[in-house]
């Protein structure tokens, strides 16, 4: 089947061009193969990035394209980095990132450790557990709004059933204290399987003979866990933590649909602030500076992440 298509392509290609392609050197071919990807990324990612850097030094507003653009120098950066509200948005992000990572790592690692007991049917149940992370955070996040509805929502009902709090008082999304936890719960529900899957790979990469040697030395289970299991799985755990850290630092879709940053600005994580500034207040120059700040933060983490990836790859 494939062979036939190849023949057709060869036949369909006009003779001189076909000759040209046939005669192409390996080096030429390499660039011919790689350059379309590089060009696309330059056009869709790198060019816009430099545009954003330029805009971040101006007072440009996308809703007033005809106004004279003034160069502000570093003023946008100074304002953002001295702004109390944005600092608070960062703390909201930090709260979200910290708790989601902590919960996901603890639960994810525990689940992986239990699955590694190889009980009967573990493959099937693992697949079931993995389902939430493959789904659209926006579409599922939107549905969680329904589960969180006071009284009629399943989540609120179960909470009030278990704790005895009147069902109308379980206001997960409109209570200032509870809303940050509402988004943490959904994120943990969604992404614990991700951490679990990577931890499982880490646990399974530990060679059996190390445990056998430990058995010979009569090391207790507790000791084996702390001196073999955990350190050997650590590069994998780091990989999962870094990736979830990056993803949750820039989290937008799920939070936007669950709370939209509210009530007030209690769940306004950095990406939500950025969206409000850029696409609601149309302060394009100012929000570009903010975008660059977030980008540098993510890029720093991404560098460390790729290092960690390579470390795991060499295992």
């Amino acid at each position: 089947m494939l062979d036939r298509t190849a023949d057709n392509v060869a036949r369909a290609t006009p003779e001189p061009l076909a000759k040209k392609i046939r005669g192409i050197s390996d080096k030429g071919l390499a660039w011919l193969f790689i350059s379309p990807t590089i060009l696309l990324l330059l056009a869709i990612n790198i060019f816009p990035l430099f545009w954003a850097i330029y805009l971040s030094f101006t007072n440009y507003r996308a809703n007033r394209p005809n106004e004279v653009v003034k160069n502000l120098g570093l003023a946008n950066y100074r304002r953002i980095l001295g702004d109390q509200d944005i600092w608070i948005a960062m703390q909201t992000t930090a709260h979200f990132v910290f708790w989601t990572i902590l919960l996901q790592t603890v639960i994810g690692f525990t689940l992986a450790w239990l699955i590694d007991r190889k009980f009967r049917g573990h493959a099937f149940w693992t697949t079931i557990i993995l389902v939430p992370m493959m789904l659209s955070p926006a579409v599922v996040g939107n549905f969680w709004r329904f589960l969180y509805e006071p009284q009629i929502g399943l989540f609120s009902y179960v909470v009030s059933f278990v704790t005895g709090i009147p069902p109308t008082n379980v206001q997960m999304l409109s209570n200032v204290e509870l809303a940050p936890w509402a988004i943490i719960i959904v994120d943990t529900w969604m992404w614990t399987p991700y951490v679990m899957l990577i931890c499982l790979a880490g646990l399974r990469s530990i060679p059996e003979y190390i445990y056998e040697a430990a058995e010979v030395d009569r090391a207790s289970n507790w000791r084996q866990f702390w001196s073999i299991t955990l350190p050997m799985a650590l590069p994998f755990i780091m990989l999962a933590v870094l990736f979830r850290g990056i993803e949750n630092f820039k989290m937008f879709d799920m939070v936007n649909l669950l709370t939209g940053g509210g009530p007030g600005s209690t769940t306004e994580v950095a990406s939500i602030t950025l969206k409000r500034q850029a696409f609601e207040s149309w302060r394009t120059g100012y929000s570009s500076a903010f975008a660059i700040i977030l980008f540098v933060a993510v890029f720093g983490l991404a560098n460390i992440y790729v290092k960690a990836l390579n470390k795991v790859k060499q295992r």
């Binding site: 954003a52 805009l55 493959m134 009902y157 696409f279």
Partner: protein, 316 residues
Amino acid sequence: MSLTTAHSVVAPSSNAKLIAGTIIIAYALISIVPLLWIFATSFKTPPDSIAYPPKVVFQPSIEGYCNLFTTRTRQTPEYINALGPATGFCDETVRKRNMVIAGPSNFLPRFVNSLIIAFGSTFCAVFLGTLSAYGFSRFKVPLADDLLFFILSTRFMPPIAVAIPIYLMYRELGLSDTALGMILLYTAVNVSLAVWLLKGFIDEIPREYEEAAMIDGYTRLQAFWRTVLPQATTGIAATAIFCLIFAWNEYAFAALLTSGTAQTAPPFIPTIIGEGGQDWPAVAAGTTIFLVPILVFTILLRKQLLRGITFGAVRK
């Protein structure tokens, strides 16, 4: 490594297995409840869906699906009685609520947009990705590591940060709210994953095959086409599914850069409203239809999942 083989722990006792199994099954069941609830809600009538306490046992109805695909207007009973007999189940159900079907809703076009954009961008990303992956895998490319890092790093850009200049750029180029613009954007995001994953898959194909083919008189290009591509089919298929899932699920770009003609399903589904707030059975119906393909793909992909989410770093 597939999920079925495990080896690391020295013979766990049957008691340990029992406890582990119980906890895992309990977690799996609890974590799947929200999804089952979406599925159940899609078959409830609107009053059933907002009943207190939440109804677990109910009379199934496809009213949610009817409402998802139609727009309705409220009419007086006299008006409805004057109409001819109902033409179908949906018509009948809607009339019971003193409404008439006014026309099709936007769900179907939005769903089709999702299909076009997801498949279009997946095709482009896998096509470009296969070429680049082969280039990086088989040839000495100067600065290969830097280029590969550059390709991967583009995936980490915060979507909102990218969306600001892209919004301006697309406005200039006339690409705002077009399927072409979205396909280009998703291709750019997906190509990084495609290159990294496919490079791993192609690295695993022994070079000897191509070399043998080239000795037989094939050119490099023919050897690539006839020996490497057929052997990389599994890898290409897995990569394609990963790209498809990303493009299918994406929300941030779609919400900020599309508003009408090119809008995909994720930003549309939350806007489905009935009388007095969200029409939850219709939302659940849309969500169900939207999620089912992903469920199928997840099951197909389960052996490659680990590889996909670690950009090919963890192979087994």
